[in-house]
Symmetry: C2
Subunit: 298 residues, 2 copies
């Protein structure tokens, strides 16, 4: 769903359009990737590690295509998130991440079922193809779009957007918005080599708490027709964007979903030349207590 949001950048000549994935199935863009995976994979069982939107999306997509789904989650995950995955009929494997990493548990489960497919939440051709459907929709609905800004964590979303722009042979820039607290994509982009965060970044944007870009995504993003730029966004700018989307647009977004809007609001001089900018609002799932604290500024 596209929403006009030019009010958010009052002193700019830019027309700002939001591509809202908050009303997507399971509340985030992740369903696009999960749907492609569940539809196209020849395997009858899909295993993934995810404590967030991807797990829930994969569970629903597997149910739609009548496949088994196992989601590995830390045993510290919020009960409401565990329940949401189970409610879609998936098997949840809770692990103590102090004793065993999520990936190790995924490997174990895969060894037990050699026919299973191990799905990365971001570094997978079907995931990229799924995310490209969002790019295609934006390009079709916004013929005059000049720039698409989207959050970056593992790089699956921006890779999909870059692929969609290539496919359409359009002259549209794709810009990534990343929390400054976990600026591995920005460092990678500037140095020309894949850089990792030393540890999981403690940003409020939990969808961007990745250690590094996926290798497959990095190859797509670093190309000359890949990403145009990575904008680093402060925690305060993320919170401010969540609050402004609440106040001025009546849009409920999760912190990760506000990254692109925050990048446009804090770097609006960069977009001053005018034209149409599309900011991807990637998801809306946020705990009530976290959201309440952000909108009241407490």
């Amino acid at each position: 769903m596209l929403l006009e949001a030019t009010d958010l950048i009052p002193r700019s000549e830019v027309r700002l359009i939001l591509a809202c994935e908050t009303f997507q199935h399971t509340g985030s863009f992740k369903f696009r990737a999960a749907y492609q995976l569940a539809r196209n994979s020849p395997h009858s069982h899909i295993i993934a590690a995810s404590s967030g939107n991807f797990g829930q999306a994969l569970a629903l997509a597997c149910r739609a295509f009548n496949k088994r789904c196992t989601v590995v989650m830390p045993d510290t995950s919020a009960q409401v998130k565990v329940n949401a995955v189970r409610a879609q009929g998936a098997n949840v494997e809770l692990i103590n991440v102090q004793l065993k990493s999520r990936n190790d548990r995924v490997e174990e489960l895969a060894a037990e079922d050699p026919d299973a497919y191990i799905a990365s939440a971001f570094d997978d051709p079907w995931v990229i193809a799924g995310n490209a459907t969002l790019g295609a929709e934006i390009l079709k609905a916004c013929p005059d779009v000049e720039t698409i800004v989207a959050p970056i964590g593992g790089g699956g979303l921006t890779s999909g957007l870059v692929m969609a722009v290539r496919e359409d042979n359009r002259d549209v820039r794709v810009i990534a918005a990343e929390p400054a607290l976990g600026n591995d994509a920005s460092l990678s982009f500037r140095s020309g080599r894949l850089v990792s965060n030393p540890e999981e970044p403690k940003t409020i944007a939990d969808g961007a708490r990745t250690l590094s870009l996926g290798k497959r995504n990095w190859e797509i993003l670093r190309a000359h027709d890949g990403l145009s730029e990575v904008i680093e966004v402060s925690e305060e700018a993320i919170r401010h964007a969540v609050r402004m989307l609440f106040l001025k647009i009546n849009l409920k977004v999760e912190p990760t979903g506000a990254l692109a809007v925050a990048a446009v609001m804090t770097h609006s001089e960069q977009f001053m030349s005018g034209g149409t900018v599309c900011a991807v609002v990637s998801g809306g799932n946020v705990d009530p207590s976290v959201y309440a604290e952000i909108i009241t500024g407490s």
Copy 2:
């Protein structure tokens, strides 16, 4: 914008569609009425009393048609609401309602400018015509809709919906959802005569804090092809609906905007026969502190 929301009533056979007016200009359905008023009135100055959505909508609509706009508001109104009306270029008249009623001040201002048009927020032919455009959109986008449920305060919205159904000659029921704390419409409907609340009802649904239905609306709503029913909704059901729309649909709504959804959720047995029900989510403008308290259940 229409959103599928069947998840909200899991044990029902009903298909629930939300007609969301939260992304309308100025964040509520009131802009439809304000637009018709500002476009069609031959007067160059429009005066209205409103501390809520209608004032802001009228200010924007008058600006669009280059008309003067005066909005009378209590001097206890939240500064953010006063600022929002002023930001649209309207003149705000703050009054002490202990000393003078809003309507008295409107009359005074009208006496000073005999060419001005005094607009009721709900009891006005253009207001009803404006609200009818929402009904026409629902009927067009949802050809199989059997029931439309909408909040009721002064009755302008439901009157517009009834007019749209009549105009289209369709067999669609219009049901009103009213706070039980201010059940004048329910009492009027049951007794067959226009009943008023003894005082402004202290419901959290501030858009329904009206003393009675408008006389014009009452004549439309009481007709044999008028309202089918008025459902009374408790304060707890309103809060619950706001919370569920946040959690399950990622939709930010104001308490008044949740009235119709609350009516469907609490009376779902009534809609059990199946079919498609459209609930009007009339607006999204709510103070962050009120919203935070509702979604956290504190």
